[in-house]
Symmetry: C2
């Protein structure tokens, strides 16, 4: 899978150490990092693996990238920006906000490591864009002016929160596992932690293992929007 020459050119390298013909750059490094992260998860992204993948030394990477965190940040920014760029332009406020929210949901579903990083460093510039792209629709949606900041903030926090949870789930439910059985086990454990009671969890047990994450995510977005549209009483 990881070949020394991954650019397709089959020319025999002059040096046995196989120095690449094309120059290193931050963009190329980030691209390689994303490949490793997607294929083998966050723990697999080591400077040694990355150096091998890029057919270089680990020190070379440090010439273009400050440290591991910088690398993770750049990779996260990359996939997030790409996802937000592809969001269809909507004309209706609710649909537009949903589209942004779902784009973030989906990009983190596809790249769980990005969700983890986003909830570790929420001041990413991509988060600013989420905030803006959502906030701009609150006025036309009818959210009172003095509730708009709280509302945009709640939505952003909610989206990043769910993103983080999803990243966690993806991390512990690697491909093969039976999602429904696992959720059922978690639910059962939650109930058994307090065998005397927990009536609400007992009642919700079925839904807990059968619900659709993506649909439930949107339900939460709708709650926040609906709640923010109401002029508060006290």
């Amino acid at each position: 899978m990881f070949q020394l020459c991954h650019d397709g050119r089959m020319s025999k390298p002059a040096h046995p150490t196989a120095r690449r013909a094309d120059a290193l750059s931050k963009a190329r490094i980030v691209e390689a990092a994303i490949e490793i992260l997607d294929a083998r998860g966050e723990a697999a992204l080591t400077f040694r693996a990355l150096a091998t993948h890029l057919a270089t030394g680990s020190g070379a990477i440090y010439w273009h990238v400050a440290d591991r965190n910088d690398l993770l940040a750049a990779a996260t920014e990359n996939v997030l920006a790409r996802a937000l760029m592809k969001v269809a332009r909507e004309g209706e406020p609710r649909a537009a906000i949903r589209a942004v929210a779902l784009a973030v949901f989906d990009v983190i579903d596809a790249h769980p490591w990005a969700g983890a990083h986003l909830s570790r460093e929420p001041w990413h510039s991509g988060v600013g864009e989420i905030f803006e792209r959502i906030g701009g629709w609150l006025e036309p949606l009818g959210v009172p002016i003095d509730a708009q900041f709280d509302c945009a903030s709640a939505l952003t926090n909610y989206i990043l929160g769910v993103a983080g949870q999803n990243a966690a789930n993806a991390r512990t439910l690697p491909d093969g596992t039976d999602r429904e059985a696992w959720l059922e086990a978690v639910g059962k454990r939650w109930i058994e932690d307090d065998p005397e009671s927990r009536p609400f969890l007992r009642q919700m047990a079925a839904q807990l293992s059968e619900h659709d994450d993506r649909q439930q995510f949107i339900a939460g977005v709708d709650f926040i929007l609906a709640g923010a549209c109401i002029r508060r009483i006290a």
Copy 2:
């Protein structure tokens, strides 16, 4: 600060290696871990530091604890359970839900590392309790039956999400830093990332650096509750 004998007994140890008189136990280990985590942060919790703190060998810790993750999980469960236990029993639904939410908010404000762990492993038994303690009030609050699961889920996700963000903030804003200046800098950067536009962020800039996190957190909880009480139209 970290003395070999921290139990107050000043008896001279028989061995120069200072073997403790009191036996090791998971409870004592977790307690020591919490002290280190609170005092010096998540990165400072190493088995070597913990072993020194407990005046033992690193291998001894493994007799009582599976691995580092197990330790972090137990510490998180510990502070969370303690915080939830102290929540005042309320009679009114909205006040009761707010009380639980604020308890989680405050415990993570006090122990940021717990917030980080909670958003990495949201199937903790403590999360089940949050879910139950909130969910049980939705019926009396007037949330329609078919919205209760989505609502409890949205609230839990929101709470854990904000918890994670707060943990992140606490991690990067260590004691001394000027919080307001830092938030202002983040806001400015977000605006400058797209100098053509970002009108919403521009408008919210002042609020971004001046708002009260705790109050904004509760505003989000109220949005979700208000939105869930409305019978949905489509």
